[in-house]
């Protein structure tokens, strides 16, 4: 068994059923998983920001920093390893905000960018645990595609 750690603005995938993919300490960042149950292949991305529109050079160097470039890139990587797009199951976690933050709302903007992307591609989000002010750790178990969120010492399955 191997544990793949996804850092900020990073993506990891695996097709080994004994593997686990994890990302720690999601604040406003958004963690997104995609999993093909038939092929037992899946990936996880940890996006810092919603859109690369004003940072195209940066997105060329690291597309995984942004929701709008990173999630499609993750899907393409999974498809190149045999996943079928229509079978992919998407889940999301993170996207927290500061208390009374009417100014920046990075967490909400990150999740809105994902929703926009999924609607445009006619894809439904199977489950999510987003918002609030809590830190989250997200796990993807490759054997079943199970996604677990750990926060403040408690775990729940998405």
């Amino acid at each position: 068994m191997k544990t793949h750690v996804v850092t900020i603005s990073d993506m990891k995938f695996s097709d080994k059923s004994q593997d686990v993919i994890v990302t720690y300490s999601l604040g406003s960042c958004l963690g997104v998983t995609a999993y093909d149950p038939k092929m037992c292949i899946g990936g996880m991305i940890h996006c810092l920001l919603p859109s690369s529109d004003s940072a195209r050079d940066r997105a060329r160097v690291n597309p995984f920093m942004f929701v709008n470039t990173g999630v499609p890139m993750m899907v393409r990587k999974l498809m190149s390893r045999g996943a079928v797009k229509s079978r992919l199951v998407f889940r999301a976690g993170g996207g927290a905000n500061m208390r009374n933050d009417g100014l920046f709302n990075t967490g909400a903007r990150n999740f809105a960018a994902l929703e926009k992307l999924l609607v445009r591609n006619n894809v439904k989000l199977t489950a999510c645990d987003v918002g609030g002010m809590i830190p989250r750790t997200m796990f993807l178990y490759l054997d079943t595609g199970r996604v677990v969120i750990r926060s403040l010492g408690k775990e729940k399955e998405l």
Binding site: G27, S28, M98, G153
Partner: protein, 289 residues
């Protein structure tokens, strides 16, 4: 004795801030090690930086203006004394492994502190403000009160969390209600007591509530937003999570927009990648016991 008085009395016993100097020990044992690399470790470690500034500002008091950055202090002390300093403060056996009360491992607290410092400096740079050098120091040590509460007073975080949740309070407001003091105020008081320049202790004391500071203070504004950004980025988050209130007054004063913050966040994440080796060295399993 009130809880606040009890905490303040314990704080008077604190002689050094815990730190994780594993990499510094390795360098000490290497005769070819460069002082430059040792300086890099010290200036990214809140415990070592504060202990060093305490020593130099006490030793050279009245000689010159107070020293506000680790690099400046290292240049003044010279190599041999810096080495002695690291040995005497960085590796003392009583130093804690984990900030139990606040659910923070040493590497997480280090990551968060460095991220606040980098974010404050990057914000100043993106805004074209050329803030003073000690902006980094102030950001780095802004969370020092948490170490004190967690390591020396063994504060338990659950009652604070549950009060915050039940009454819709920010984490620092809940600390005030449960402990009679919050970690920012406590950190500022300790640094002031240790003779660190008021420029730094004021920033630490007010960094969670800059609106309570009388007057305008650019470094305070930058560190306040730097702390917000570090929490949103998620580097080294503790149980308190993102439960703090960003000041709209500071945001207005600095002319912040989501686009500016996004640029600063991206810059910080790229810069953090270069400091990653420091965090790995401070992982729990490699820390001295």
């Amino acid at each position: 004795m009130s809880r606040r008085e009890e905490i303040l009395s314990r704080i008077s016993e604190v002689v050094a801030i815990p730190s994780c100097a594993h990499k510094a020990i390795v360098l000490l044992n290497d005769p070819d090690a460069a002082i430059e690399e040792l300086a890099r470790i010290i200036e990214h470690d809140p415990g070592l930086t504060v202990n060093l500034l305490k020593i130099v500002n006490a030793s050279f008091f009245g000689d010159n203006r107070p020293m506000t950055t680790a690099r400046e202090a290292i240049a003044r002390l010279g190599t041999a004394q810096v080495l002695q300093f690291v040995v005497s403060t960085g590796v003392a056996p009583s130093f804690v492994q984990k900030i139990e009360g606040y659910d923070l491992s040493p590497s997480m607290h280090l990551q968060h502190s460095v991220t606040v410092a980098m974010a404050a400096r990057q914000l100043g740079s993106v805004l074209g403000l050329a803030p003073p050098e000690y902006t980094f120091t102030a950001g780095l040590v802004s969370g020092i009160g948490k170490i004190l509460l967690g390591a020396y007073v063994q504060v338990v975080v659950e009652p604070i969390m549950s009060l915050a949740f039940k009454e819709g309070l920010s984490f620092d407001q809940a600390e005030d209600r449960v402990l009679g003091i919050n970690h920012a105020e406590l950190g500022g008081m300790l640094l002031e007591k240790w003779g660190l320049p008021k420029d730094i202790s004021d920033v630490v004391r007010y960094h969670l509530r800059p609106d309570e500071y009388v007057g305008e203070n650019l470094v305070l504004d930058l560190v306040h937003i730097g702390n917000v950004l570090a929490k949103m980025i998620g580097a080294g988050l503790g149980a308190d999570g993102l439960n703090y209130v960003p000041s709209t007054r500071v945001a207005g004063r600095l002319g912040l927009t989501p686009a500016i913050l996004d640029t600063v966040s991206a810059n910080v994440v790229e810069e953090l990648g270069e400091a990653w080796d420091l965090f790995l060295e401070c992982a729990e399993d490699s820390c001295p016991t």
